[in-house]
Assembly symmetry: C2
Homo-oligomer: 663 residues x 2
């Protein structure tokens, strides 16, 4: 009876379990698309210290499209090289090599370290800016039912999750979300002095109900972002392949007291006593990965973590860094973990329930890839589900989550298996060449430049995956390489990562070439008649598809980037459909951009077309997906092919005839 009183029923379009980085990235899209969604987490508060800290440049590109990369850059610590230390001739250790780990001009951003708690803060702030969606904390999922028979009806609620909202008297069970396949031993005291003010309000747990409340939530879609020990995955009986390795590592975030010269530079230090990884962090912190124990080879049982203390880790550090000194008084966070290399057999159930992040893949954290991969999972599945729920995306496109992300999870584990021996192989020496070799093979993947998304409804590849001659470096399935452009109307400069804002729309990039050329001007006008639906087929890809309700009249936006010198053409020289007029907001001044060098900005150097492999006179036509990956590339006149591509993705308005019929 008492229980009945506090039991409620409700429904939501999307339920997200787990408010770590991957769950928050998915929630970001719910906020941007204005979708009815909920996100629950069993912890009382967000993360504040420790946990993941590695941000790849590609992740900062995503953050820029979400509007907060500047906060990461302000607070984070960048890494531009890796140093290798090996035993020297006199029982000392010596710097064997300094390896550049950045590539000039590939991205505006660099590998950066900043703790997960700050990243959660920034995504939470961004969600708040766009909706009332908020994380419901201290909420435990108890049971999951899934009705397969409803799976083909996109308007049905095949998912039923019972949750408990913990009351004042409940003690929270151990945290289910961890950065990797290990367990935690953080014993820090959190207080205002070690947090930034914008986190203070989250320091105190939310007000809980007096008694535990039970709620039954029916949902159209469920995203399980609940970590390595994913409750969602277990409910679905999805098997996990792989195993724990036999290596136990400690991780400490400390203010080091040391005369080791490279303590503020990424370094691998290897000697007979073992191999450690040195990762400088924000606010004077340095993270160290320290081997603390080796299990019996092949042992599958969990190690006895109670034996691993902070003092033991300190002593191991001292042994490996000797003869350099090492100690610390301030430890912000530490933990011990057993490296597990595991991958879930599937990352979806019928494209109604999805797994993302550590729920799919766990591996060694040392390369700083885990949080990035997890956030990109959440980013990938989030926009697709939200746009499907909005009614704008064809539900079958949801299949691309698994086809795009699962191979990357496998690649990640492959990478990890190649990389890990560097840290566990006790034989000193030859590390620099190993690192360079692996860096060379996996660089594009690790940095996130290449994701290898395969052909699908979202990605139209050239035959034999060849490049397209008219846009040689615009590879469908890969990201748009960031360049800095000049806004035609106001003359200010912006990186494309920000111009291609993650607002939920597909974008047609009209690479207009040089419009001073009369022939090209003609081609541009032909194109714009096509975009306006005034050409032979009478179909405008801009007004053909269902709106994003409450957000955008069309899920397709147009951006023009031309190569005429900035001072030689005017904003109003461009056809009106490329800079449309809104009766309240006026002309769309943010739609016309110029690839011209700019005196006051060294990064705006007029090389966008070169970097994209596009002819400066002739231009090209590109479709960019809402997540900034390239979907389709064509010549400037290919409006019909462009529309055909979008027809495979987006739901047409009922009044719009089939494309095939119109032809």
């Amino acid at each position: 009876m008492d229980k009945e009183d506090t039991s409620t029923q409700s429904q939501t379009d999307v339920l997200i379990i787990g408010a770590g980085p991957s769950g928050l990235m998915a929630a970001y899209w719910m906020a941007r698309y204005g979708v009815d969604a909920r996100i629950i987490d069993n912890r009382d508060t967000k993360v504040f210290l420790g946990h993941a800290d590695g941000l790849r440049a590609r992740t900062l590109e995503l953050f820029d499209s979400m509007g907060f990369q500047h906060r990461v850059i302000q607070e984070g610590s960048i890494s531009t090289e890796a140093n290798i230390w090996v035993p020297g001739p006199q029982g000392n250790i010596i710097r064997q090599a300094q390896i550049d780990i950045f590539r000039v001009d590939e991205s505006p951003f660099h590998n950066t370290r900043l703790n997960q708690g700050r990243i959660e803060r920034f995504i939470l702030d961004s969600i708040r800016e766009h909706s009332d969606l908020d994380v419901e904390r201290s909420v435990i999922a108890d049971s999951l039912e899934y009705d397969e028979e409803l799976s083909n009806d996109p308007n049905s609620y095949p998912i039923t999750v019972k949750v408990r909202v913990l009351g004042e008297d409940d003690s929270n069970p151990p945290c289910g979300q961890e950065i990797e396949n290990g367990s935690e031993a953080a014993d820090n005291v959190l207080n205002r002095s070690n947090l930034l003010p914008d986190d203070w309000a989250d320091l105190a747990p939310r007000k809980k109900p007096r008694k535990t409340q039970v709620e039954t939530i029916k949902a159209k879609y469920l995203i399980g972002c609940d970590g390595a020990h994913s409750w969602t995955r277990k409910q679905l009986d999805i098997p996990v392949e792989g195993s724990n390795t036999d290596h136990i590592w400690g991780v400490i975030d400390v203010i080091p007291l040391s005369d080791f010269p490279d303590i503020r530079r990424v370094s691998v230090v290897n000697n007979a006593a073992g191999t450690i990884l040195v990762i400088p962090r924000e606010r004077g912190l340095v993270r160290f990965y320290v081997p603390v124990q080796t299990c019996e080879a092949g042992a599958t049982e969990r190690f006895d973590r109670s034996k691993i203390t902070l003092e033991l880790i300190r002593a191991r550090m001292q042994a490996i860094l000797a003869p350099f000194t090492f100690d610390f008084k301030e430890c912000s966070w530490w933990t011990v973990y057993q490296v597990g290399q595991r991958i879930a057999a599937q990352s979806t159930k019928d494209n109604r329930i999805f797994l993302a992040g550590d729920a799919v893949h766990t591996h060694s954290p040392k390369m700083g890839l885990g949080m990035n991969m997890s956030m990109q999972d959440g980013f990938n599945v989030g926009w697709k589900i939200a746009l499907a729920v909005a009614g704008t995306l064809k539900p079958e496109v949801l299949e691309t989550y698994a086809s795009e992300r699962h191979p990357l999870a496998e690649m990640l584990l492959d990478f990890d298996r190649h990389w890990s021996p560097i840290f566990t192989d006790r034989k000193p020496g030859a590390k620099a060449s190993d690192m360079a070799l692996i860096a060379g093979r996996f660089e594009d993947f690790a940095d996130g430049w290449k994701v290898f998304y395969p052909a699908s409804s979202l990605v139209r590849k050239a035959e034999d995956n060849a490049e397209f001659a008219f846009a040689r470096h615009m590879i469908p399935g890969e990201r748009v390489r960031p360049v800095k452009l000049r806004n035609h109307a106001d003359g200010g400069t912006q990186w494309t990562t920000r111009v291609l804002e993650s607002d939920g729309r597909f974008r047609i990039l009209v690479l207009a070439g040089d419009i001073r050329n009369p022939m090209q001007r003609q081609r541009l006008e032909t194109l714009t008649r096509g975009l306006a639906g005034q050409s032979g087929s009478n179909i405008s890809p801009l007004s053909r598809y269902l709106e994003i309700p409450g957000r955008f009249k069309s899920p397709v936006d147009v951006l023009t980037i031309h190569t005429s010198p900035w001072k030689e053409v005017e904003f109003f020289d461009f056809p009106e459909i490329l800079r449309p007029f809104d009766p309240v907001k006026g002309w769309a001044y943010d739609k016309i951009w110029c690839d011209d060098a700019c005196m006051f900005d060294r990064y705006c150097d007029g090389t966008a077309y070169e970097k994209w492999g596009v002819d400066r006179v002739l231009g090209a036509l590109v479709i960019v997906r809402p997540d900034q990956y390239i979907g389709w590339v064509g010549e400037l006149g290919d409006v019909e092919e462009l529309t055909q591509h979008l027809d495979g993705i987006l739901v047409k308005k009922s009044a719009t005839g089939e494309f095939d019929q119109a032809l």
Copy 2:
């Protein structure tokens, strides 16, 4: 009896009246130095929309030193050129000139537009990060008493201010702080949708007491930042010189609906119907300054502002921009003002009470200088008072507030008198040359590159104000020209504007030159013995002065900037005093910087020494004040002269002998 019940007495070291930009800048220093201070404001809330919007690059340099320039850049709109439009041959208007208004490489930042409300937000957040100081709103100052006899005792409380804390039933009197000598007519509805989330909490007025409360506050120092109609200034009977001009202007912040080509570029449009100024802003807004009425020449009475409506301003805009179209549906803020050019006769009373910002100078807002000058006033007076209250600064240094800032207020009015006729002269044409002329004459001043601070205890000028041969472009009394350096320990790059953080300390810049050179290495070691007090005079300028209580053991910090190639020297190659060890924080990795080109950052190009006019081998020695102005320049060995300079500013520890005696 009722009144007595709610009347209290209290004392504070510093009372700031007015929480606009100048008051908040002063309050920033109270927070950084940990000084006992209060800041009151008669308004119920902060500013949200409209008001001042122009930020000069120099102001962004200050913001960088305070830690939030990245937020301004993310949100603001930059201006890099100015366009002049004049009547054309067929009754139309034509673009006569495009004038570059930025100087390449002079600053990392550009002239930027962002509304005052956001700037207040950022300073408030920064204050919160460093202290519990918060603005007390809805508080009205009623009376001021000043006891001159106490003026020479720095520990006395010569100031008595009675304030009323408004209760729930009080209606707030009209706002006393305005951007200039005009009055406001904003009639916008504020709500969440037109504000950013971090301002939402300030949208609702604070909880007020039920009844009005009266408080008597005794203070050591008072700063009146209470605007053009300064209550503080009136209490002191300080006369104001100057007068209203005969020109009435409207200001509107709107989303324009117009086919005028330069509506998103700073423009002056001049035709027979009048002259308007076009200032593009953040979030699609454009500000227009529009002449609406001319009083009788010399008329001193206030104009009848009730006659000026938004519709009248719209019609004037349409007349002046014709034949281009102009209209708007969204107006975020508007006001009408009469240009007043006025300056207070004094900006201090006995160096115990100070006036800052509009309380000292009012002028035309069109050049976007007012908020900058006001903030720099607050910044200048703030650190001095706070450091004097802390007991570290000699009280007589407070005289430099008036000697440094008052001449600039006069220069500002001079500038305004030269500039204003461009907007009020009805004769079309010749505007471009006028603008170029004035830009040339006042550019350094307007942009804030040059402040012309005269010789004083804080500024040691060369004879005849000549340059110093060993640091030709390091001019005492001017700012440190920003350059980008590479941190020696971690390899990351930073602008000096951020490295020279406004944390309250004086900084000795050890421009160490190239330490690979054995002779130079010798000179550096001699210098560091001097800094350590191990040379002839036995005086260490680093341990000689009183601490900043609760903040820093020494008010003098040391930063080293060398020219050896980054990869060829090590952090530990530098003498220990330049990278001191702290038992908890370890070695000071943030103290050694390198002027070397850096492959991954185009702005870190190894030209700092060239820009500063310093020999790359021999280096120099520089004292930078807490506000980043250069105080003193010397050769690398001049420790005794350096110490003599600091002796004129800072209070020595009682155990430290007089410098003259020690010699």
